[in-house]
């Protein structure tokens, strides 16, 4: 290796370290300050405490907000993934008239600013005399999440050979059984990925939840409300730390599931067949 290349390698290495630090260091401050015995976020740390966690656990409003977010998140994940399965199958298996424009319209929420969608939905719902709340938030989230579900599932559907479904028909199974015995087990990793992705998007979505929510907020809106009072900030940090650990856990779970599914994919048909 000549001197120039060594220099380049060192610069790139430094850049990579700075990049990763910029990405994750601020996040790590969250749990750090959540144990700090002070309401002010500054060094030096005053001393260790678990009281913010106690305050957080005792906060009824926070529990309600968390439950709201879980309800909206799970509903959104299930509905947008089911819609995604139907859409992705249709798009990848059949040639439909006007297919490209239709897919384009479905994908549009990916590029339309969310605040526009949120305002449009707000006006629509109020005009139609609907009420705001968890249902309207979920409706907004589904609108945003279906394109993500479609993208994840379409790649999975395209990745698996169409002749597998034909082989199933050939061996005597109708469309329903073919779906359950061949299509579903083969796109299952995509379905799990879609569920996790859409849940995560819904769980930390703010703008829709803010515009379309009532006085009963989801977790991000609740946290934003808390941030306005410095006294409450450390409690929010504790909550943030918990969410951080939970999401790391979910990512590990998803990865474990993906690997298990790759190596030992035969068990599905034993259960169904």
């Amino acid at each position: 290796m000549n001197r120039n290349m060594k220099l380049a390698a060192r610069i790139l290495g430094t850049y990579a370290v700075i990049y990763v630090a910029y990405l994750y260091l601020p996040v790590l401050f969250l749990p750090l300050f959540s144990f700090n015995d002070s309401i002010y976020i500054s060094f030096p740390l005053r001393g260790w405490t678990l009281k913010w966690y106690q305050i957080m656990l005792a906060n009824e409003a926070l529990h309600r907000a968390l439950m709201n977010s879980l309800k909206v998140g799970i509903t959104t994940a299930l509905i947008s993934t089911v819609l995604g399965i139907l859409g992705a199958r249709a798009v990848t298996r059949y040639r439909l008239p006007g297919q490209k424009p239709v897919v384009g319209v479905i994908m549009l929420p990916l590029v339309v600013p969310e605040i526009i969608l949120a305002m449009a939905l707000l006006i629509l719902i109020l005009r139609l005399g609907g009420s705001l709340g968890l249902v309207s938030i979920a409706a907004g989230h589904i609108l945003v999440c279906v394109p993500f579900a479609m993208v994840v599932l379409m790649s999975r559907f395209e990745g698996f050979d169409r002749s597998l479904e034909e082989a199933s028909h050939d061996l005597g199974e109708n469309a329903w059984w073919t779906f359950w015995r061949v299509t579903f087990p083969n796109v299952l990793p995509g379905i799990v990925a879609s569920l996790l992705l859409t849940f995560t998007i819904s769980f930390d979505e703010f703008i829709m939840a803010f515009f379309l929510g009532s006085t009963n907020p989801t977790l991000p809106v609740f946290m934003w409300n808390q941030l306005r009072f410095p006294k409450l900030l450390p409690g929010v940090l504790a909550l943030g730390a918990c969410i951080l650990i939970a999401s790391v856990f979910i990512v590990l779970l998803a990865e474990w599931f993906r690997r298990r599914n790759n190596s030992d994919a035969q068990t599905g048909d034993m259960i169904i067949g």
Binding site: F160, D161, S163, L164, E166, A167, S168, H169, D170, L171, G172, E173, N174, W177, R181, V182, P185, N186, A265, Q266, G268, D269, M270, G273
Partner: protein, 357 residues
């Protein structure tokens, strides 16, 4: 045909404005090994998929054992298919793949595993039950696909270029096995291939297809020895095709061609008339070379030679015809000729076929 088992009547299939299958009628007998042979895009696979129920014909009718199955969905048909890429279910092991079509028979665990074992034994895959789909070679996948289809005891087995993805040695081995298997189970096979050698080796009868039509259907020997048209002659085996004009018709047909001058031909199955433009067809193995001028021998120049082991191919250029060449295959010619050498061409006029253009 009285003993028709599969009756294909005036089937056409268009995709948009492309006609894939153009008014094809065929009768296939019970227990027959029938091949559809043609270049890619000739409509042979489309015809097979129509038989399997994966495409519906634009026009026409299909009967199996007198039952109209034209509009019957694939999962109810008495046919099974071996797909080109085998379509082995990747999430199932060998046993589950082979047993896939048995669900509706509601067999006990023992009955099912007995059937699977028998099917695997038939394709010589004993003991592979628990193998995963991705732990098998191409040849093994092919056997699993066969077992999975045959376990259903179909009236007709459809095979879509099943040997196409295998290497040459394995392919030749599988050809013999496939033929033996077919004779053993006695099921009617409809076999699609673009490999003419394969079609000739395996089949009871072959239908040669091009551009959605059937050019000729006959037993392999007839197709090889008496191709009905220039197209078939060109596609099946090596064939010298010479343009010529009919000079006179008597006991023999006299045809003049640039390469060979006037040739008297015995074949007049095509009912030609003097002045007709025709094609003279002769196989390379029916021509021979000699070092010495013999009666009727034509002086030629060797343009190229290629040693094939069991035979040697020569490309020769008759004198005075520009760059036109003929191919000769000769087994016992030891006079090692190099390009540029002189030789004499001998032939027997009874080996020539006469084809209308």
């Amino acid at each position: 045909m009285a003993d028709a088992f599969i009756e294909i009547a005036s089937i056409s299939k268009s995709f948009g404005n492309v006609t894939a299958v153009d008014n094809i009628s065929l009768s296939i007998r019970k227990g027959e090994f029938f091949s559809l042979l043609g270049p890619s895009g000739c409509g042979k696979t489309t015809l097979l998929r129509i038989l399997g129920g994966f495409e519906s014909p634009s026009v026409g009718k299909i009967m199996i054992e007198g039952q109209d199955i034209t509009h019957m969905p694939a999962h109810l048909r008495p046919t099974n298919m071996v797909f080109q890429n085998y379509a082995i279910f990747p999430h199932l092991n060998v046993e589950q793949n082979v047993a896939y079509g048995l669900r509706k028979q509601k067999l006990s665990r023992e009955e099912q595993s007995e059937k699977v074992s028998a099917a695997l034994a038939m394709v010589q895959l004993e003991g592979f039950d628990k193998r995963g789909a991705d732990e098998m070679s191409g040849g093994q996948k092919q056997r699993v696909a066969l077992a999975r289809a045959l376990i259903k005891r179909p009236k007709v087995l459809l095979l879509d270029e099943p040997l196409g993805a295998l290497d040459k040695k394995l392919r030749e081995e599988m050809q013999i096995e496939l033929r033996m298997l077919q004779q053993q189970v006695g099921i009617t096979f409809v076999f699609v291939t673009h490999d003419q050698e394969e079609a000739l080796t395996l089949s009871d009868r072959v239908a040669v297809m091009n551009e959605g039509r059937i050019l000729q259907q006959a037993p392999p020997r007839d197709i090889y020895e008496r191709p009905s048209s220039r197209e078939v002659a060109d596609f099946i085996g090596k064939m010298n095709l010479l343009r010529g004009i009919v000079e006179s018709i008597g006991e023999q047909v006299v045809v003049s061609s640039a390469e060979l001058g006037s040739v008297s031909v015995n074949d007049n199955s095509q009912a030609v008339h003097p002045g007709d433009r025709v094609t003279l067809a002769v196989r390379p193995e029916n021509l021979s070379l000699s070092d010495t001028p013999s009666t009727g021998g034509l002086p030629v120049t060797i343009a190229a030679s290629a040693f094939w082991g069991h035979t040697t191919y020569y490309r020769i250029n008759p004198e005075g015809v520009g760059t036109n060449t003929l191919d000769i295959s000769q087994q016992d010619y030891r006079g090692s000729k190099n390009s540029g050498d002189q030789a004499w061409l001998c032939f027997n006029s009874s080996d020539f076929l006469l084809l209308k253009d």
